[in-house]
């Protein structure tokens, strides 16, 4: 088990090195950073000194080595646009994005699994068919459109919820949270729904399909022949087997929730990393873009690792394969 985890961790480091190369390459191919910083009337001497102070006149390999060592210590350089260390900017924005992503995922998981189980067990009811129809909308409508529609309905027309921002936040050390104030919680509702809706419909459809599949298996028939209660069969035997593939998808989706939060954050002007990234793209602020790329891949890789380990916790057959392989 330990060997398995270590091997997976090594693979994860390999992926991170590859991403590091790509994000470093962005500096070389997205134009001359110096001309982004300076104004038109800056003298050539000044430009040279800036170039030197940023280390841009060193050989590429030296620059890459330096970049890499710094990145490993979460030093991503200084933003061209804010003149602040990128790491600080990200750290400041991280709580907003993570809170939004976690909320959206919990929302998606809870409602997705509930609706999926319901529409599998009561396949022919009106409600189950309604869930199916609504889920089609959730899957096919683009996120920004859903966000705008929600804003139009709940913020503009009804005026119940704020249309942008995070509301009031409370500082807990370096972490800022909107979960402790009423305005923060209210501000969280619409973006969470927008961001989680796609995942929710995905999980719902997956749970429904898996559950129907599991209910047809021999061990469920045998469980019925043993006279177990319907509750024990549906929510013990069937649901546990259903959740094995759901864990993978939900886990991987958490990564894309963070990555896709770019759109939701833009629509709701949510002060998270996604919004920071979009602004960085507009201003060609390469250090932020590169750091964002690294951050997102780190999150993806970590989630993958956790999902792999979770698998073996849920499914004893994998535990056996894993220990045999190591």
């Amino acid at each position: 088990m330990l060997a398995f985890t270590l091997r997976r961790a090594l693979q994860a480091i390999g992926v991170m090195i590859a991403v590091g190369v790509i994000s470093f390459a962005m500096f070389r191919f997205a134009g001359d950073p110096v001309s982004q910083i300076v104004s038109i009337d800056t003298s050539a001497a000044e430009r040279a000194s800036i170039r030197q102070s940023l280390g841009l006149d060193d050989p590429v390999l030296v620059q890459f080595g330096r970049y890499f060592i710094n990145a490993a210590q979460f030093k991503f350089g200084v933003s061209y646009q804010f003149r602040l260390p990128v790491a600080d900017l990200l750290k400041e924005r991280l709580p907003a994005t993570l809170e939004l992503a976690v909320c959206a995922t919990i929302l998606a998981m809870v409602f997705g699994i509930l609706m999926g189980v319901y529409s599998a067990l009561r396949r022919d009811t009106v409600l189950a068919k309604l869930f199916q129809a609504v889920s089609l909308v959730g899957i096919s409508l683009p996120t920004f459109l859903i966000g705008i529609l929600l804003i139009y309905l709940f913020a503009v027309t009804l005026g119940w919820l704020p249309s942008f921002g995070r509301g009031q936040v409370v500082k807990l050390g370096w972490w800022t949270t909107g979960l402790l104030t009423l305005s923060g919680l209210k501000a969280l509702i619409l973006p969470s729904i927008t961001l989680g809706l796609f995942q929710m419909t995905l999980i719902m459809r997956l749970v429904r399909a898996e559950m129907l599949e599991v209910l047809r298996t021999d061990y469920i028939r045998f469980a019925r022949a043993r006279g177990l209660t319907t509750r024990a069969i549906h929510f013990g035997h069937a649901l546990k087997n259903t959740l094995v593939p759901v864990i993978t998808v939900a886990g991987l989706q958490f990564g894309s929730v963070i990555a896709f939060s770019i759109i939701t954050e833009t629509v709701f002007q949510w002060p998270g990393m996604g919004l920071l990234f979009v602004q960085a793209v507009q201003n060609v602020d390469i250090p932020i873009m590169a750091a964002y790329l690294l951050m997102v891949s780190l999150i993806f890789v970590t989630i993958n690792l956790v999902v792999d380990i979770l698998y073996t916790v849920v499914d004893p057959r994998l535990r056996a394969t894993v220990s045999r392989a190591s």
């Binding site: 061990y219 028939r221 022949a225 499914d315």
Partner: protein, 327 residues
Amino acid sequence: MTQPVLSVRDLEVEFVTRRAVLHAINGVSFDIAKGEVLGVVGESGAGKSVTGLAVIGLIDPPGRISAGQIELSGMRIDHLPPEEIRRIRGKRIGMIFQDPLTSLNPLYRIGDQIIETIRTHTNLGESAARKRAIDLLAEVGIPAPEKRIDGYPHEFSGGMRQRVVIALAICAEPELIIADEPTTALDVSVQAQIIALIKRLGRDHGTAVMLVTHDMGVIAETCDRVAVMYSGRIAEIGPVQDVVRNPLHPYAKGLMGAIPTLAGEDKRLVQIPGSMPRLSAIPPGCPFNPRCAFVFDRCRVERPEPVKHGTQAVACHLFAPATESAA
């Protein structure tokens, strides 16, 4: 005679499909006495498994029991509400399915599955149920049961898994065990062990056993009586040695002729020409008439009812009472 453990009378099961109503079981009647092993034999689709599922109340829509009655020790069970038939399943009737590899939930320890079943049907506490589970595993011949009880299904071989399945089927001391082709998915050598085990358990506990199979060897070895099914009906039923040595129904004759003998003359085994009609195209009269070597006019129009013939009962016009055949 004492009351039979299982008494099935004129059972009919139909499946309602969009195009037609298919009659899977057409008037099946039989009894199983305490401690008796009844073999049910026939080709695929003859209605053997459906009969077993009907008895335990596991016919799922679109299928349903449309007529007849099923009595378990004198108590009618075919029209019970779902919750009451559930209480009978696993407690008074145990069931063993064909494929032990897929009968157990892969994510649960076998001990947990046994304990869960015991605790569903009895008032035993967790530790008492665990002790009982270990005893059961020992009884069905699992070595080192106190260790193996914490194993997962994938850690057991096919034969061992079938033993676990049997332990699950008998864990509440049922009056009746329905074994639906319990050995079909197993190696020949393991088959014999499993059959011996079912037979021993039936004898030790006085349990009635309904053994569904298409293996005539298993029938001859294990059963007290045998019912030969064809196209949703019982063609012939009687004590196993009589039916095997002296089959009356032409179809039963064909089946018995298909058993290879150890004496081993190099004769070709008898083969029944054709195949069983599909449920949607059962011919009028005797369903076997298109394949029967002894067919005559009456077979094509009139459905034969089972009639007593010595120890056996046979549904064939060849054996109909003289008064009727004269008509």
